[in-house]
């Protein structure tokens, strides 16, 4: 197995782990950005150039900034009084461990059935463009509608209403 893959996998998993365990919320958001960057590099390692750059542009360039702004607007950077984990943390951890165990068992046991083809499909950006306008035009239009609705909804939900106490 590739050395580069292991390094990127360690970076991504480390980013994910620190994102859910740190006390300071802004540090968690920055660790999440590291996880996103690791994932984008994993996509590039998988020869999915467009998906990798879209991941950087959308997740690091927009979602991470959204998370950070939300943390700042809700005073999340002050450490809470009773610790950061909820009182049901043990059962949550148990469920997550069980999910990982089942998934890992499924992956490792079906290695024989998984395909071994390793030639990279060469997909050019032009093909993606033609497919988006040809075969996938309905999902494209629906996603456009969804993004418009989400934008309007987010603005309306987070709007300061007149007369509301600050």
């Amino acid at each position: 197995m590739n050395v580069v893959f292991w390094i990127l996998a360690v970076i991504t998993v480390f980013g994910g782990l620190t994102a859910v365990t740190l006390k300071n919320t802004v540090h968690c958001a920055l660790a999440l950005t590291v996880a996103f960057a690791g994932l984008a590099l994993l996509f590039l390692q998988l020869d999915a150039q467009f998906a990798g750059f879209a991941q950087i542009l959308v997740y690091i360039g927009a979602v991470a900034i959204l998370v950070v702004f939300a943390i700042l607007l809700t005073r999340g950077s002050e450490t809470p009084s009773e610790g950061v984990f909820s009182h049901t943390w043990f059962s949550g951890l148990l469920i997550a461990a069980a999910v990982f165990a089942v998934l890992a068992w499924a992956v490792l046991n079906s290695t024989a059935a998984l395909p071994h083809v390793s030639s990279a499909p060469t997909v050019s950006v032009q093909q993606i463009g033609s497919a988006l306008m040809g075969r996938y035009v309905l999902p494209l239009e629906i996603v456009a509608l969804l993004l418009t609705a989400a934008m309007l909804g987010a603005v309306m939900v987070a709007l300061h209403e007149k007369g509301e106490q600050k």
Partner: protein
């Protein structure tokens, strides 16, 4: 002879690489190109600081620095010595790790943007199929480093400056992308090399640069506005407004880290000027066909330096925009105009060759701009200046 001068750096690189064994040749080639970029652009940065200070000085009716060397040309060396030897102060309550890595992330992200710019014929570092998308993705990563700088300083003014800067950058990112999408649509490729190749044709001696088409000219204006806002330059420099926020998000930085932020900002200016030159001004192609004997990399750097001079000129001339005026401008004027521009570019493409498409496209763009402009000016009661004198 002309071809040798044009390709001199490429030939030099091949000659150096061929000396070494075949196993490390590809890595050595890439390393040489990277070293060349890291050497050239900070050198240009040093030159630009002198040009800016002298230029701004002259525009403000004063002489700029003139003590270090003839006409102050050795000023960057003095600045460099100063920033390297200043004490590096980190506030006690600052978040040390984030405070340290913020300038590093900025400089790394900005340097990566230079990898896809074609600086001459065959002189790009990587010819990516999705080069333009890579450039914009890397540009989007710089915003997070500005936030990190502002937040880790634990300083109200820094945080305020950082929030303003991030809000401004994400507002102007959409018009920046949309004005480039018109170019991509007409060229049919996201690769910057193909975009330059498409502009490298001449009709009656005049080039096919996209700025000489109606939709290209409008897109270039939008791109310039959005690029000035993306790099936090005047008139959009409220985040580092020296009269208001001390120095904005890099208030608490001193010495070498401040120099890194400064370097990152100017390199961002270079890379976005380079992108503007590639998309709209034909990259490394000459303005007239008779001038093709001049090497291509000279044309590229000439266009970039011209853009830098125009940016400095704008800084010395226009007053600063307020935060809400800035965001209003982005969302309510520039973005709808870029969408209209996309429509006009599509009309251009489907009307076929001829004088009719020039007339129709120019008429649509100028008509809408004049109508919107007069309506807005009438609403805000903008007119000729009236003077009130003291009694």
């Amino acid at each position: 002879m002309a071809n040798t001068a044009d390709q001199i750096f490429v030939l030099l690189k091949h000659w150096i690489v061929s000396i070494f064994p075949a196993a490390i040749q590809p890595y050595l080639g890439v390393l040489l190109s990277v070293v060349a970029i890291i050497a050239v652009f900070p050198g240009l940065f040093a030159l630009t600081t002198v040009i800016e200070r002298k230029g701004l000085g002259r525009m403000q009716n004063r002489i700029g620095p003139n003590r270090t060397g003839p006409y102050g040309i050795l000023q960057p060396i003095a600045d460099g010595i100063k920033s390297l030897t200043k004490e590096d102060i980190v506030p006690t309550s600052a978040d040390a790790v984030v405070h340290f890595i913020a300038p590093l992330v900025l400089v790394v992200a900005v340097f990566m943007g230079f990898a896809v710019l074609p600086m001459g014929r065959n002189m790009q570092l990587v010819d990516m199929d999705a080069g333009l998308l890579f450039f914009f993705a890397i540009g989007a990563s710089t915003e997070l480093s500005i936030f990190m700088a502002g937040w880790s300083s634990r300083n109200k003014y820094s945080l305020l400056g950082a929030m303003r800067a991030v809000a401004q950058m994400i507002s102007y990112e959409v018009p920046l992308l949309m004005s480039s999408v018109a170019i991509v649509m007409i060229t049919g490729s996201l690769s910057l090399v193909k975009i330059v190749d498409a502009q490298n044709q001449y009709t009656w001696g005049l080039p096919h640069w996209y700025i000489f088409t109606p939709w290209g000219c409008a897109a270039f204006v939008m791109f310039c506005i959005a690029a000035t806002a993306e790099t936090n330059r005047s008139p959009f420099d409220l985040p580092e407004g020296e009269s208001e926020l001390v120095a904005g998000y890099f208030t608490e930085y001193s010495g070498f880290k401040f120099a890194l932020f400064f370097l990152g900002e100017y390199l961002g200016m270079f890379s976005i000027s380079g992108l503007g030159a590639t998309l709209f001004l034909g990259g490394w192609s000459a303005p007239l066909q008779v001038l093709n004997f001049v090497p291509s990399w000279i044309w590229f750097f000439a266009k970039v330096m011209l853009s830098i001079v125009v940016l400095i000129w704008i800084r010395g001339t226009l007053p600063r925009l307020r935060q809400d005026q800035l965001m209003n401008f982005a969302w309510k004027f520039v973005l709808p105009m870029t969408l209209l521009n996309l429509l006009v570019a599509a009309i251009w493409r489907f009307m076929g060759d001829g004088i009719l498409r020039w007339i129709v496209c120019s008429a649509i763009l100028i008509g809408v701009y004049v109508v919107v402009g007069t309506i807005e000016m009438r609403r805000k009661k903008i007119g000729p200046r009236t003077y009130r004198y003291a009694e």
